[in-house]
Amino acid sequence: MLPSVTITHYLIISAILFSLGIYGVVTRRNAIMVLMGIELILNSANINFIAFSHYGGIHLDGQAIAVFVIILAAAEAAVALAIVLNIYNRFNTVNVDEVSALKE
């Protein structure tokens, strides 16, 4: 039978999510897939913050930090997608290994 839930369960979930995100960032060629991997990593960090906020006795400070993480993730996604669209218009590809020049 599966054991009862403690803080370790949440931390292990976040560790696996983090590893999957790193794997996606490292292996994918498509820039948008890299962005998805970054979102997974940010989510895993947020799970850690909120788990410690719940179990670790820091009350709501962890949740406040998590709100800032979400805010910065939104800003990051907007700017990164604008850059990706620009790269697509210039080079006609979004594969990060092909876009290796800063100018034509």
């Binding site: 009862s4 983090f18 906020s53 800003a75």
Partner: protein, 175 residues
């Protein structure tokens, strides 16, 4: 095994399985839609951790904002005429070895460490009012800076994504 545990394992399964699809699927559209379920699962985990405001924020911003943005990115950067939108991978073997080592190390550390749990009793009151108070008192400066960062990021994104008038889109594609 209580109801809490069952719900936790349910959301954990949804999160990790769909995150696996996000990372390992060859079709980027499948990845984008699997990301939706990952965000839902993470929101469920937030609810279990007594973070109701954050769960709703997660749904609003990630599912409603970031995911739609990513889907727009997928649509705008692929030829929609070819239905199969595949993405290549590189360095799969070294990446999986290193990531497996990192994941094992992290999980091992999390498992071995004897976490000092301060309070284990469920608190069922809403966190929204307290969080709002904290943003207006303790976290006032970061809160204002975050709003400026958002404004700058949105203006910057609009500026970057705008088509350059000197290089019309038909010419740029020839480069």
């Amino acid at each position: 095994m209580t109801l809490y545990d069952m719900i936790f394992y349910f959301f954990a399964f949804i999160t990790l399985a769909s995150a696996g699809i996000v990372v390992f699927s060859r079709n980027i559209i499948y990845s984008a839609f699997a990301l939706l379920f990952t965000f839902f699962g993470v929101a469920g985990i937030y609810v279990l951790l007594n973070a109701d405001f954050l769960a709703v924020t997660q749904l609003l911003i990630y599912v409603g904002g970031i995911l739609v943005l990513l889907l727009f990115g997928v649509m705008l950067t692929n030829k929609v005429v070819n239905v199969e939108i595949k993405t290549g991978t590189l360095q799969t073997l070294p990446a999986s070895i290193i990531v497996a080592i990192a994941a094992g190390a992290l999980c091992g550390v999390f498992y071995i460490t004897d976490w000092k749990i301060i309070h284990d009793k469920p608190e069922l009151e809403s966190t929204t009012a307290t969080l709002g108070e904290m943003f207006m008192t303790t976290y006032l400066l970061p809160f204002e800076v975050a709003s400026i960062v958002l404004l700058v990021a949105l203006i910057g994104a609009a500026l970057i994504a705008r088509r350059d008038k000197k290089f019309p889109i038909s010419n740029v594609n020839l480069l």
